[in-house]
Assembly symmetry: C2
Homo-oligomer: 208 residues x 2
């Protein structure tokens, strides 16, 4: 099994139990991704899960708690993907290639989840948002570490490492916005293409 298949096979909330709570979470992810958090009603979520509106409140205190749980699970996965690439063996170019490819494959393959995770952050209340922002900083740190290593080794040519880190993450994250299952590109293709684009952005010397 390839790393790509691993990323796509795993349903992010497979660890959520009981079954009814998971069904509600899946329904919420779909609804939030389609219409946005504020435009989604608790009745809509419960309806998609085949339950009455009140059932939601047996498993979650509020609608916002649902979003918070989704966001936390999603961000944890993002951090795991990027840190795993940053910690991997190999040249900085290989690690950056892996980071971007896996990160993009995840955003494309799970674009409904990713859309919620990346674009509904403002709907969280202050405390929960602060929690999630911490996880995002870890994403930033992982990418920055790879770039720094590459510059130190003389493999990358990057005048502004924080700026380049931001641009790389921004490029990958925005995949969740435009990726469309009906489109011609598979997650794998986008991942490979984006890895190539990013290596060029950081001025990686072609492998000899």
């Amino acid at each position: 099994m390839t790393a790509t298949e691993e990323i796509l096979d795993e349903v992010p909330w497979s660890g959520v139990s009981p079954d009814a709570a998971r069904r509600l979470m899946v329904a919420a992810v779909e609804a939030f991704a389609e219409r946005g958090y504020h435009a989604t009603t608790t009745r809509d979520i419960a309806g998609r899960a085949g339950m009455s509106p009140a059932a939601l409140y047996i498993h979650y205190k509020t609608k916002e708690e649902l979003l918070h749980k989704i966001s936390t699970i999603g961000h944890a996965k993002a951090v795991a993907i990027l840190q795993s690439a940053a910690d991997a063996e190999g040249t900085p170019a290989e690690r950056l290639e892996q980071a971007v490819r896996h990160f993009v494959v995840w955003h494309a393959g799970h674009h409904t989840t990713a859309r919620v995770v990346q674009y509904e952050l403002d709907a969280l209340d202050a405390e929960h948002r602060a929690e999630v922002v911490q996880l995002r900083r870890q994403c930033d740190a992982a990418v920055r570490r790879i770039l720094t290593d590459g510059v130190k080794a003389g493999d990358f040519e990057v005048p502004d490492i924080p700026g380049a880190t931001l641009a790389v993450l921004s490029l990958c994250i925005d995949v969740a916005r435009w990726f469309n299952v009906a489109g011609r590109r598979t997650p794998d293709e986008v991942g490979a293409s984006y890895a190539d684009l990013v290596l060029r952005m950081v001025g990686a010397r072609p492998r000899s």
Copy 2:
């Protein structure tokens, strides 16, 4: 006056009249950018404009019409920036540099407007959304034209022109999401930096 200053000086809705309608539009842009379309109430918009809730409906039929007008004006500006760069004299690299720089300067300098324009599209009703999607296609066409010219001239090395077009626009658009006035970067700096990154992405030969 530099092109950058021109882009930033012009308030996008300076052509909106009468004065009260413009004040309402400015208020709506701020509110939509801060909290999102669905989380913004008509009372909030009217309040920011210093008017009663009912005043909104003298100048706009619905809250959605306000969003539609904002979106149309914003997209028209985006199309103008990109087409102007595509039509400009100069090498493909120079035209691409100008397109990205001006587009990014606009997204950073008017990041509240840009956020609404780029991220609240789904809140439009079907007919209005279709209208705006047409304008977005023109953005795509302008960038694609520059890339095609560059490849034909042998100046760029791009294996997948539609894919690269998408990536370039995606990178620029996402600036509206993360750009923060309190941050250290000015719109000009981000624009210059992003133009450089994009030229690398398309494998532009360094100018001789």
